[in-house]
């Protein structure tokens, strides 16, 4: 049974979400503030979190950062505004996905289920990227000194999926479908922000990527 953490300050929305997820068979922990949400997560070990951006006290971005530092769980940000800066800030804070209010409840439910369905592809072959050694069946990336480079599950999936194409291009839509499990809700910003975050972790010079390159008008490819 999946355990979901809902951090939302609006009582009505929080209760409605709780009822909906309980109706779908989830175990629901809910919190009206980021502080309570982070504390709850420490005790309950949620499988996925939904975090509203506009919270009193600790903001949704900070809350999502706290959760991300503690775990690789999928985090969905609920933004009040569909503005690129909010979306990017939310994703930069470590979230995997976002929805904007007023969201369609079925859409949120579909996203949550898609994120929970995702499992790392253990069958993928290990590969080397410069100084980095990517081992999919262990779910780790090792640096040359033997230490582990931390990637979120979304980033790891992005990297291994691109690697499996053997240098062929994947469009943003393909990536949405393969990594996020759907392509018809997301928009390309979701892919772009995650690619950028991944670059800061694996590229020697993230501004001039040599491994994870953009193919204009087509998408992204990984040069091994």
């Amino acid at each position: 049974m999946a355990r979901i953490l809902i951090v939302e300050d609006d009582d009505h929305i929080r209760t409605a979400l709780r009822l909906m997820f309980e109706g779908e068979g989830f175990e629901v922990d809910d919190a009206a503030t980021g502080e309570v949400g982070v504390a709850l997560f420490g005790r309950m070990a949620s499988d996925i979190a939904i975090v509203d951006v506009m919270l009193p006290g600790m903001s949704g971005f900070e809350t999502s950062q706290h959760l991300r530092n503690a775990s690789d769980l999928p985090i969905i940000i609920v933004s009040a505004r569909d503005e690129t800066v909010d979306v990017v800030l939310g994703l930069e804070s470590g979230a995997d996905d976002y929805v904007t209010k007023p969201f369609v409840p079925e859409e949120l439910l579909a996203r949550v289920k898609a994120h929970l369905r995702r499992r790392p592809d253990k069958s993928a072959k290990a590969f080397t990227l410069g100084d980095l050694h990517v081992v999919p069946d262990e779910g780790v990336v090792r640096q040359s000194d033997g230490s582990e480079l931390h990637l979120t599950s979304t980033e790891f999936r992005l990297l291994t999926d691109l690697a499996s194409m053997n240098g062929k291009v994947l469009s943003r839509e393909d990536l949405l479908e393969r990594v996020w499990g759907y392509d018809y809700f997301g928009d390309s910003r979701l892919v772009d922000v995650h690619i950028r975050r991944l670059r800061t972790k694996i590229e020697p010079d993230p501004a001039n990527p040599i491994y994870l390159v953009t193919v204009r008008g087509a998408g992204y490819k990984l040069v091994l």
Partner: protein, 453 residues
């Protein structure tokens, strides 16, 4: 201008004519007065000559002619006694002869072949003689002709000046109006920052400029207030709407536990909540677009892939059949600069409309028109009547198609938003007839060179 010219012409003609007539009258009168006086003096001279030495008469007459350039004729007992060398008896009419014979001094102005002559007859009863003097008013005539010439030239000049002045005055008076009309046209095109510049010192023009600017400012303020209001309302609606939609979906989870009336009500609730939701989303998007709040994320992309992917996600998002993308073979794969998200929203809206108002899009066709990339979303429905082709892009416009059929309602904002999006990426959106006889919604976008990309 023509009116001014005509006015000037009339006035100057009347003035010239009056002057000419007046001057002519005065000149002729003066000349006649002096000629009359001259005649009496000459008659006295002739009388004394007849008394003293009649043979000297012819000599005298010729000397008079030499002195005054007039011809003198002398008659006695109905016989011409003598005349100066240039004189002609024909110049003296029988009427004047009769009058002078009766003993009255008489004068007569005659117009011979456009030459005015002035004939004066003076009776000299003591010697039964009549003296006639014929004056040529030729000099006067010349003066008058010169005068007429000058007056005519003056009239023409005045007319031209009148026309020129009229032109200048008209231009000067109309120019501010032209500026106002140009500014109004710009504002109508959405250039709301357009204002008139106060350049001229004319009080009326300044007043016009100022009140025009004031009007535009107030209009813009009002527009902004309205837009803010719509945006505020939509923002406030988001939270309750989210609760409503989520609660309705919870109810839907328990659909089986509801009575049939409850289930039917729930279906209505869900359907209208979906419309409500789209409406609020569109209103929010519109408010953002009006406020220019969302920066464009422009990138250069290959058009064929862009259209294919947009059509695919648009169709999947709404669970609609995916129309085929047909590319005219000779166009290559032009590059265009777009904001992907906005472009996809436009395609989504057009495909959704084709589904709503026709039987779905039959194809999305890519071609090049006038050097621009044309993306045509075609259907085989009833099409959009000519008179509605511009109106369908207005906010909340409901055309005949929406009234005629039991069509699932849209928000009424889709096409307006689509046009905003297309304009934002530098293209145009219009509607025409598809080859199938239905509607063709055409997006035209500038093609960019590889070099500038």
């Amino acid at each position: 201008m023509v009116t001014f010219g005509l006015g000037a012409f009339l006035l100057s003609s009347i003035f010239a004519s009056l002057t000419y007539l007046g001057v002519r009258h005065v000149l002729v009168n003066n000349q006649q007065q002096s000629d009359l006086k001259q005649s009496y003096e000459n008659a006295a001279l002739i009388r004394s000559t007849l008394y003293t030495s009649p043979p000297e008469l012819a000599k005298l007459l010729n000397s008079i002619q030499g002195a005054t350039a007039s011809n003198v004729l002398v008659q006695t007992h109905h016989q011409w006694l003598s005349k100066s060398s240039n004189a002609a008896t024909a110049d003296v009419s029988s009427a004047i002869i009769a009058s002078v014979n009766a003993g009255h001094a008489t004068d007569q102005t005659l117009d011979f072949n456009n030459q005015i002559i002035f004939v004066v007859g003076v009776p000299v009863p003591a010697v039964e003689t009549q003296v006639y003097e014929v004056f040529q008013l030729g000099n006067l005539e010349h003066t008058l002709q010169v005068l007429l010439l000058y007056m005519g030239a003056g009239a023409i000049l005045t007319t031209l000046i009148g026309m020129g002045g009229g032109l200048w005055v008209t231009r000067r008076a109309v120019r501010p109006l032209l500026e106002v009309s140009e500014a109004a046209a710009l504002i109508a095109q959405g250039e709301l920052s357009t204002r008139l510049v106060v350049t001229r010192a004319d009080e009326e023009v300044q007043q016009l400029t100022e009140s025009f600017n004031l009007m535009v400012s107030q209009l813009v303020e009002r527009l902004e207030r309205d837009a803010r209001f719509a945006s505020d309302v939509s923002h406030e609606l988001r939270s309750p709407l989210t609760t409503l939609a989520t609660t309705a979906s919870v109810l839907n989870q328990h659909r089986e536990e509801l009575s049939s009336a409850g289930q039917e009500s729930l279906s209505l609730l869900l359907a209208d909540l979906a419309i409500f939701q789209s409406l609020v989303e569109d209103l929010l998007e519109m408010a953002r677009s009006d406020a220019g709040a969302v920066p464009l994320a422009i990138e250069t992309v290959k058009s064929i892939e862009l259209v294919r992917q947009s059509v695919r996600s648009a169709s999947r998002r709404h669970g609609l059949d995916e129309p085929p993308v047909e590319v005219r073979p000779d166009i290559g794969d032009p590059l265009v600069r777009v904001d992907r998200r906005r472009f996809e929203r436009v395609i989504t809206n057009l495909i959704d409309n084709a589904h709503r108002y026709a039987n779905g899009a039959v194809a999305v066709r890519l071609t090049v028109e006038d050097g621009q990339l044309a993306v045509n979303v075609d259907d085989n429905g009833a099409g959009v009547p000519h008179e509605e082709r511009e109106h369908v892009f207005e906010r909340f416009f409901r055309g005949r198609a929406a009234h005629d059929r039991g069509i699932a309602r849209g928000t009424g904002l889709g096409l307006a938003l689509s046009r905003d999006h297309v304009l934002a990426i530098g293209g145009t959106l219009r509607v025409m007839e598809s080859p199938e006889g239905g509607a063709r919604f055409q997006i035209l976008m500038p093609i960019v060179d590889e070099v500038h990309a």
